[in-house]
């Protein structure tokens, strides 16, 4: 057995850290898009627009029912063979798109549950003062649902952050890709991937701390 080459690992840290902005950027972009899409899907599931509801159910079922890696391959390598203009999409965009669709399906379900959790009488009160469906959703229901769903949504963000490593399989040089390239030169695969793992771990731990803080903050909200 070979000893760990700590010096090599320390030297690698700044190199891999250089790719953290890309990882965080993909996760953040994916999260913003997924949140918007998930909110729309969730609202539709609650209001149940005819026909559209059926499509939304199908969408959610598919993206929850198949692995993210399979989805990414299907849409990045598979679909462009059928739909030609898709060939122009680069790996980063494709990864963000894949993460968005996949996690929106999951987040829609938790947002939907949170929406249903808001006391029905508040819907009626909002209707009774003449608010439109949109107004009551945006101003009364979603702000309350967001507070209930927030901790779960942070969990999905953590999953998404880790999921960005799959962009590697779409030819994107992110943290994993960079480690792979470095290790290919030095043959120190274990050290290289260990550095990647530790950096992910630290980021996720930081997010978990943020999540605890968020929960405390949210529990105090609306009471004064």
């Amino acid at each position: 057995m070979q000893a760990l080459d700590f010096e090599y690992m320390l030297g690698l840290v700044p190199v891999i850290l250089g790719y953290v902005p890309l990882t965080l950027g993909m996760a953040a972009a994916g999260m913003v898009c997924a949140l918007v899409l998930a909110a729309l899907l969730a609202v539709e599931r609650v209001i149940r627009v005819p026909v559209l509801d059926w499509l939304v159910v199908l969408f959610i079922s598919f993206f929850r029912g198949t692995p993210l890696l399979v989805q990414l391959f299907l849409f990045y390598y598979g679909l462009p063979q059928v739909v030609s203009f898709l060939t122009r999409i680069d790996g980063v965009t494709a990864a963000i798109l894949g993460l968005t669709l996949h996690f929106a399906a999951y987040m829609a379900e938790s947002i939907r549950a949170a929406i249903i959790g808001v006391d029905r009488s508040q819907w009626e009160a909002a209707q009774s003062i003449g608010m439109t469906q949109w107004q009551l959703m945006l101003r009364i229901i979603l702000p309350q649902a967001a507070r209930v769903a927030a901790p779960t949504l942070v969990n999905y963000f953590i999953d998404m952050l880790k999921g960005t490593s799959l962009a590697f399989t779409l030819g994107v040089t992110e943290m994993m890709g960079a480690a792979q390239k470095e290790a290919a030169g030095s043959f120190r695969y274990f050290e290289a991937f260990l550095v990647v793992a530790v950096i992910y771990w630290v980021m996720v731990e930081a997010l978990s701390q943020g999540q605890k803080w968020l929960e405390t903050y949210l529990n105090k909200a609306f009471v004064r």
Partner: protein, 244 residues
């Protein structure tokens, strides 16, 4: 002037409102009494389209709506002409007392924020809650929450205020302050349609009392006529029961 003709509502197979006809004059205070499950709440909710009536015509001020084919804009029109006070207050939990009252002024009536805030503060002062403007509902007592609920409806300057058992969910200690506020609303010549089980209050505040039974208005008259000389045997039985 409020005019309701032929208002009908069926839940599944059960007729809950059966051809209700009712005219209410401006400034009139009408109280509805009757046993549980006779459609009192449904009548109020149909006027506001919280429940959609199957048939009938509703006129409030300059707006007449044919319930069977009411369009979205007409429904919003009716809601903008009525204020609804709920049994369980139904305050917006994510808004302070003042924001609860401002909400309709800002989003529906599209008043500038400062103007809406000023009006909300004036209403809060009337409800005796000026010092609770920045409190969230969770931090208010039941009585205070219901006073905000009434304030939210008052702020609309609605042609008709609907009250569905506004004190039924309250601990007895808070009932008095809510009834007091309703008396003050009545003094302002506000047209009111009130469902209540508070018979003493009904006698004192009502210009006219309606007795509902099985989806129909069975008897109506002044408080003296209804309480002191009831005609219909169902009303007589009901009064004997509620007066214990």
């Amino acid at each position: 002037m409020i005019s309701i003709t032929g208002l009908t509502k069926t839940f599944g197979e059960t007729p809950v409102l059966d051809q209700i006809d009712l005219d209410i004059a401006e400034g009139e205070r009408v109280v509805i009494i009757g046993p549980s499950g006779t459609g009192k709440s449904t009548l109020l909710r149909c006027l506001n389209f919280l429940d959609r009536p199957d048939a009938g015509k509703i006129t409030i001020g300059d707006l007449t709506v044919d319930a069977a084919r009411a369009r979205k804009a007409e429904i919003l029109g009716l809601r903008r002409r009525t204020g609804f006070v709920f049994q369980n207050y139904a305050l917006f939990a994510n808004k302070t007392a003042q924001e609860n009252i401002m909400e309709a002024l800002v989003t529906v009536q599209r008043l500038p924020k400062a103007e809406a805030a000023a009006r909300a503060q004036a209403v809060l002062a009337e409800t005796g809650l000026a010092d609770k403007a920045n409190s969230y509902p969770a931090a208010l007592s039941g009585g205070q929450q219901q006073r905000v609920g009434i304030g939210r409806a008052m702020a609309l300057n609605a042609e008709l205020m609907l009250f569905d058992e506004p004190t039924s969910a309250l601990d007895p200690e808070w009932v008095g302050e809510v009834l007091d506020l309703m008396r003050r609303v009545a003094e302002q010549k506000q047209t009111m349609l009130i469902v209540t089980h508070e018979m003493q209050f009904a006698r004192e505040i009502a210009d006219r009392i309606l007795f509902m039974h099985s989806g129909k208005i069975v008897e109506q008259g002044t408080p003296a006529e209804i309480f002191d000389a009831p005609q219909d045997p169902r009303l007589q039985r009901f009064l004997a029961r509620v007066s214990g």
